[in-house]
Symmetry: C2
Subunit: 259 residues, 2 copies
């Protein structure tokens, strides 16, 4: 494109996190960057929005060279306030979210604030990508995926993303480097097996910690989980249309009602 | 079925809300009921879960005649702790969530704590229904939909729900009574047009209220919005597989990478 593309950057780990810093750096090599990101970590926030409460938005000093804001709201709030208040009539060519510190593959997409921000962008009619690194180490290295993040973003800008679709991009951890390439995948149908650990606070009141293990029995080789555990970057195109279209006919046949 | 079905009840408006009270009453006419619901309102929580923080769970005195708990977590947390801690080896025949005080049709399904609780149940392998009443009036009347809630629940128990699918049931407001019947629908592809109202607090610091108008340009007569505005109950079968399967081929064709 003739002029530099406008790219909106957000995340769910918060504006202080290393993942968004690298994402901003890469996006600055590609286009004009505006950042609106949460002022505190919002992992696991899903598609939560702030209803019946106030939202703060302040200029951020963390990225002094660009237009950057920190927001008290959820990741989805950040995209909404970016579009309707910060950018107003400026329409971004792309919205990128991340780079999340941890996996958002398989069903984790539903719990992910990173991906919900990207899906919110799609709901607002904007092409969007969520990036996640499958590495929970506190000092996770984001640098080895840097060239891939740039390449995927540039390809999205030139080749496009299908209308209404959000790309869920997950990178395998560094132990798989050098990465083998990209696989377009479906979301693995796996689940989390939770356990609730019962404890008592100093006042004798019971509380719980939720912990869980990811349990993937989906053996398909077309899934994001297969790609990631075989050294590939997984890209799942995601829709915000939750309708199970093929179930409508079944229900019309099986459920009979007096009209 | 020979023995009474076990039904787990939750919601997002909180255990004190009138919608869950009526839902519990109706479910008690059908089966054995266990309640695990948020101890405070959780509207707009989407599929948020509690990560890195503690969860409280206390026996509730609101439903003294049954097994009922109030939980400090999100609606999705409530389903997780119900399955893995409260019920353990008791497997519910059905999970019902609601009755939400307000619409969860169209894309509101993504923001809805009510529906996220129901979808969480599906992720856990359980059949589930989310019920919502499209009436925001503080004194909304839930009674006129009572017989429909019972009929839909009984049909779900006898005819079944497709595996992995969650039913998103919305009732039109009372002005459409008597209701014409049920339509199995797809989710309307609409959007919210947000506005952010800028204000200043007593300390001179800026804050925002998010407000929005629902904007439906999807004129299809097979949508939940069409059904609701024509006096029908809408039922959208929902999946937790966000994969836009038909986009995988497009991406494989259009995006070419060096391997």
């Amino acid at each position: 494109m003739a002029t530099k593309p406008l790219i909106l950057v957000t995340n769910d780990d918060g504006i202080f996190s290393p993942g968004i810093r690298m994402l901003v750096e890469v996006m600055q090599e590609i286009g004009e960057v505006v950042v609106v990101a949460p002022d505190s970590p919002q992992s696991g926030m899903g598609h939560a929005i702030t209803i019946g409460n106030t939202i703060r938005l302040e200029k951020s000093k963390l990225f002094p060279e660009i237009e950057a804001y920190e927001c008290s709201g959820t990741p989805a709030d950040c995209v909404k306030i970016a579009k309707h208040f910060v950018l107003k009539n400026r329409v971004p060519h792309l919205v990128v979210s991340g780079i999340n510190h941890g996996s958002n593959s398989s069903i984790s997409v539903l719990y992910s604030g990173t991906m919900s921000a990207a899906i919110e962008a799609a709901l607002e009619g904007l092409p969007a990508i969520g990036f996640s690194l499958c590495d929970y180490d506190h000092n996770a290295d984001f640098q080895y995926i840097r060239s891939w993040v740039k390449q995927i973003t540039e390809t999205a800008l030139t080749k496009g993303i299908p209308t209404g679709i959000t790309l869920n991009v997950n990178f395998p951890s560094r132990k798989y480097a050098p990465l083998k390439g990209i696989k377009f995948c479906r979301q693995a149908i796996a689940r989390w097996e939770e356990r609730f650990e019962e404890r008592y606070d100093p006042y004798g009141r019971r509380y719980f910690w939720m912990a869980g293990d990811f349990d993937n029995k989906d053996v398909g080789e077309d899934t994001d989980e297969w790609a990631l555990s075989n050294g590939y970057i997984s890209i799942v195109p995601c829709t915000y249309d939750l309708t199970a279209h093929t179930s409508i006919g079944w229900l019309n046949r099986q459920w009979s009602y007096p009209s």
